[in-house]
């Protein structure tokens, strides 16, 4: 009898150990995808911003507060992307471990140099700008690598017993990013450090050719269009454009958060004509009227691409998100 009891206790202990240790809630599905990759079966992950929603304009729904109440870790992008609702849902959850500065709070942008950080005086006359820089960091795969490390460090701090697991998972995620970015053969022959360095310097194709190798992956799809001019709706695509050498000549929004106006559209049409723009890249949650007007006038195409994981049926995780953006944009630029 006692032996049976001990067996039951041991069995239940084993089954508890097999369950996830930490409950993680992220602001976006991109962060959730990376956190799942890093945390593996040691974490349960869910995201607040689901589907094709603008992460800037989420309402602080009470159900978010209930989810955060039970969470061990809250991961937000930071750089004021969630400024309109993050504080409200953390306070509403009454979970003090998730407040900024507490052990259960993480900004994924930690350690990433933001693009487009305003200099000089900042005011709302400039639109709904982000005073600490552009927050759409996840659209550069190099930043996704960094985010994986940042999440692994935080999970290790919260769950030291599984530190090696998190480190191993982060490394595996980064290896896959490298291979998706440059191709397996190029990574094996040249090494990811050099490839990222050449990519950042803007001479990736030439260096890989000089090394007698061939690029694969996202870089192979996008390198032919390095230097191409595009127009975007909002300043969401700056990190993507910076990584792949695209020249964003203007936005359809005259200022961040301000809808397109006729005078500005006329200006964008002139710019598109002068720069031979072939693609207008925009997020799924904005009206396409302005983009279609401009595209129709200059012979360009509107590329509606997922901004985040989950905002398109094809974007199921971080890798398929980047696959989808690269495939749609390269098809248009090459068409």
């Amino acid at each position: 009898m006692n032996r049976h009891l001990i067996a039951v206790i041991v069995a239940s202990s084993v089954s508890v150990a097999a369950y996830s240790n930490l409950t993680v809630v992220t602001s976006t599905e991109d962060l959730a995808s990376i956190a799942k990759a890093v945390g593996g079966d040691k974490v349960t992950v869910s995201a607040i911003v689901t589907g094709a929603r603008d992460p800037h304009s989420i309402e602080a729904k009470p159900s978010f507060m209930s989810r955060l109440m039970r969470a061990d870790l809250w991961i937000a992008v930071g750089l004021d992307l969630e400024v309109a609702w993050e504080d409200a849902i953390i306070r509403g959850s009454r979970n003090n471990n998730l407040r900024p500065g507490a052990k259960g709070h993480l900004y994924a942008s930690t350690g990433i140099a933001p693009l487009e950080k305003p200099t000089g005086n900042v005011s709302r006359a400039q639109g709904d700008i982000h005073p600490n820089g552009n927050p759409h960091i996840w659209l550069d795969p190099a930043n996704a690598r960094k985010i994986a490390d940042t999440i692994a460090d935080k999970l290790s701090a919260l769950d030291p017993a599984n530190k090696a697991v998190y480190a191993r998972n982060a490394t595996a995620f980064q290896k896959r990013i490298d291979e998706e970015m440059f191709g397996t053969a190029a990574v094996a022959a040249i090494g990811s450090v050099k490839l990222w360095s050449w990519s950042s310097a803007g001479n990736l194709s030439a260096q890989v050719r000089a090394a007698g190798q061939r690029l694969g992956g996202w870089s192979a799809s996008m390198e032919p269009y390095r230097g191409s001019a595009i127009v975007t709706y909002h300043k969401s695509w700056s990190y993507f454009a910076d990584r792949f050498g695209l020249k964003v000549i203007d936005q359809l929004e005259p200022k961040p958060g301000i809808p397109p106006a006729p005078g500005h559209i006329a200006h964008v049409i002139r710019e598109c004509t002068a720069n031979k723009v072939k693609a207008i890249l925009q997020e799924p949650f904005y009206s396409k009227n302005a983009a279609q007007t401009v595209a129709g006038r200059v012979g360009a195409k509107v590329v509606v691409a997922p901004l985040t994981v989950g905002s398109d049926v094809a974007a199921k995780d971080y890798f398929s998100l980047m696959d989808t953006i690269v495939a749609r944009l390269s098809a248009t630029l090459g068409g």
Binding site: G51, M65, M69
Partner: protein, 356 residues
């Protein structure tokens, strides 16, 4: 002998927030000299915002107050953490109501909330917006219409039930959002409660639950109860509040339906009731159309008011709106009035929360 502060605190009934060491949260004070000290101190300044609310009214009444334009309110919002245990918030209105000849300074809300209590609990002390229904807790700038529903202004008080007191709320554990709030308040005399003091406070309770039906459709349902003194007798109020929001992804065509009802008995008076229902529809990304129906039996039993309001709101940005609203208000005493309101509202300061 070495005592655990947590165990010792629990033994004498202190909440964990007062016994848990806070060294991991509170940074050590840096030792700076001269101007560096001033710069460091600036980091502790509270967040501040100002909401400017301009209003103009045109009416079929020739009475001058009915054809007035004023900066009806400038609301000064201040908020900061006091220490690891408390956060302070204050909303001070410099008001010049359309119906009054003189302006006033009014503390709409000012409270400290204890942030470090055990999981799910929240305690607030100060001047509070009473937990009766949903719209009573909103400030004027958060309304979808020019003014509060008649239910609030005619039953709970001109600015609603706002009073000094203590509030305790508890977020129940579980997957669904369920929140219970109980408050003891000492309001100034109003239509429903009068003569309260710290020995005879007004006690109100509110329960709300939230439903996420789909990604796009959600709703909140609440129930209220309140009791308190009224001229030597007791007033009671019961209520229900409901809001549903449909926000289809990427379409910019949201619909918000909201309704509240109260049943009340002021002192020795008879049982009365009041209700409102409103619908707001997002015509385009920035333009909203709204309509509201109000019905209220005044608590003193003298009169019944009905109003129909409809209008358009242009939200230029998150920080500015322009609203044009028509209202017909009518009472069983025979008085009927048509009013046209223009509201221009703008905000400076930090981004305010997108409340549900």
């Amino acid at each position: 002998m070495v005592f655990s502060t947590v165990a010792l605190g629990a033994a004498i009934g202190l909440p964990s927030c007062l016994t848990t060491p806070v060294t991991s949260v509170a940074p050590k004070l840096p030792v700076f000299a001269g101007s560096r000290v001033a710069q460091t101190q600036n980091a502790f300044n509270p967040d501040m915002s100002f909401v400017f609310n301009f209003g103009a009214r045109l009416s079929d009444s020739m009475s001058p107050p009915m054809r007035r334009a004023t900066m009806r309110e400038i609301e000064w919002g201040i908020a900061a953490d006091v220490d690891p245990y408390m956060r302070a918030e204050a909303y001070i209105a410099f008001a010049s109501p359309l119906d009054e000849d003189e302006g006033e300074v009014d503390v709409e809300e000012a409270f400290g909330s204890y942030t470090g209590l055990a999981a799910g609990h929240d305690v607030r002390v100060g001047k509070l917006a009473g937990a009766v229904g949903r719209v009573n807790r909103n400030h004027v700038d958060q309304l979808d219409f020019f003014d509060y529903p008649l239910l609030v202004t005619s039953v709970l008080g001109e600015e609603g039930l706002r009073a000094p007191g203590v509030s305790w709320s508890y977020l129940l554990p579980g997957d669904r959002f369920n929140e219970l709030t109980v408050e003891a308040l000492v309001p100034e005399d109003g239509p429903l409660f009068a003569g309260s003091d710290t020995g005879k406070p007004v006690v109100v309770g509110h329960y709300r639950t939230f439903f996420d039906f789909t990604r796009d459709l959600s709703a909140q349902l609440g129930f209220s109860y309140g009791t308190g003194p009224m001229a030597g007798e007791t007033s009671n109020v019961y209520g229900a509040d409901f809001v549903a929001k449909l926000r289809p992804e990427g379409t910019g065509r949201s619909i918000v339906f909201e309704a509240e009802t109260l049943w009340y008995k002021a002192g020795g008076g008879s049982q009365r009731n009041g209700h409102y229902a409103s619908l707001a529809y997002e015509l385009t990304k920035r333009l909203w159309a709204g309509a509201r129906y109000d019905y209220v039996q005044l608590p003193d039993g003298s009169d019944t008011l009905r109003a129909v309001s409809t209008g358009l709101t242009l939200k230029m940005t998150e920080f500015q709106l322009i609203r044009l609203e028509w209202q017909n208000i009518d009472s069983n005493a025979g008085a009927s009035r048509n009013q046209l309101f223009l509201q221009v509202q703008f905000l400076i300061g930090p981004h305010r929360a997108h409340k549900y």
